[in-house]
Amino acid sequence: MKFKDQLKAGVILDNPIFMQTIGLCPTLATSTSLSNAIGMGVAATIVLICSNIVISALRRFIPDKVRIAAFITIIAAFVTTIDLALQAFVPSLAASLGLFLPLIVVNCIILGRAEAYASKNAVLPSALDGVCMGLGFTFALVLMGFFRELLGAGTFLAGLSTLLPFLSGVIPAEGFAIPFFNTNPVVMMILPAGGFLMLGFIFAAIQKIMAGKEDK
């Protein structure tokens, strides 16, 4: 499979959230704002790439019967390593991602890709699979986060300057207030119920678009 096809599969055709509908729990929890979505997406992508590479490299060494235990151990080790490293060297990022990092251990996208792809394919394609699926996950989170933040809080990119301190001169800490939405926030959209609603709307839109394509 070529990288272009893999990318298309990861982001659109086999998008982990919208098409495979796995990893919905972290999606609902961390798509309350665009900056949270970006943070979680990037963190999960990095873990996914690392775990895919290691699991692929060890695929002939790990017996079938204990593979899940082995995968989880490897994933948990990566997540803990990244968590500790961030806390030590990039405390501002750790403060904003602190909630999400432990969630990644049980993110079924990562275990799912280890089981479905990395344990059956060579190292390089597995790494690329990690990149593509990670991008797909990030894309889904960003789409959800953008709309939920816009409708629920009336802002755009709030908190991104805390996540990425070098942007603090460009983007205000409270983000850009969007007129109209700013004065009429639908608070429910950033609560869990709003997450389900938004996910439903996006699913519906995607089904509509895909159905239209198949007709042609």
């Binding site: 309350t32 949270n36 790990i62 079938d64 082995a70 500790l84 709030a158 800490a173 950033i190």
Partner: protein
């Protein structure tokens, strides 16, 4: 695709899984050893920065020991205090900074509360939290909200307006607002007990 998957006997299963967990444990032990001091330092820096903002006149802070009734309260409704620091200026104690951990909407909040010796609240800062972005997170991110605690009486009587008090709750985040208020009250009670 690889068709030749390893089956292996029980000994091999144990050995392989044992080896993987062993390597992971070694790696984590190493990472922990490298980062532990640095993380402790970072947490102290965060706390010191918050204390310097709350107690602007303080020249130095000195840790004070408080009893277990504050650090590990029997009443589960009372938030635990994880540190008390006396703010010193000109050789005198001008107030106390208390690190307290009330339960919010999304887990435990960590906050620093400054109490002046004259019995008023000097200020408060939320240093870590798991509240909802755009709602409860405003306790930390909205600088105009938390400042209303400054100058309030530190006698443990503060309450949000919904509960008949004077603290304006964050819109849609009564639980977070109550948690912060409870944190301030607990800090005030603790400092009062120091005399």
């Amino acid at each position: 695709m690889d068709s030749s998957r390893k089956e292996g006997g029980i000994v091999q299963l144990v050995l392989v899984l044992g080896l993987i967990t062993f390597v992971c444990a070694l790696l984590l032990g190493f990472i922990n050893a490298v980062t532990a001091d640095k993380i402790k330092q970072n947490n102290e820096n965060t706390r010191n920065e918050a204390m310097a903002v709350i107690m602007q006149d303080a020249e130095s802070f000195e840790a004070v020991d408080v009893g277990e009734e504050w650090t590990a309260p029997e009443d589960k409704g009372q938030p635990a205090i994880s540190g008390v620091y006396a703010a010193q200026a000109g050789g005198e104690t001008i107030g106390y900074c208390v690190e307290v951990n009330p339960s919010g909407f999304g887990g435990t909040l960590t906050m620093i509360v400054g109490i002046n010796t004259d019995g008023t609240v000097a200020g408060a800062q939320v240093t870590a939290h798991g509240e909802t972005p755009g709602l409860g997170a405003k306790a930390q991110s909205d600088p105009n909200w938390i400042t209303q605690f400054a100058g309030q009486p530190a006698d443990g009587s503060l309450a949000v307006t919904k509960d008949g008090g004077t603290i304006n709750a964050i819109t849609g985040s009564t639980i977070t607002s109550r948690a912060v208020t409870l944190g301030v009250n607990t800090a005030a009670n603790c400092v009062a007990s120091l005399g």
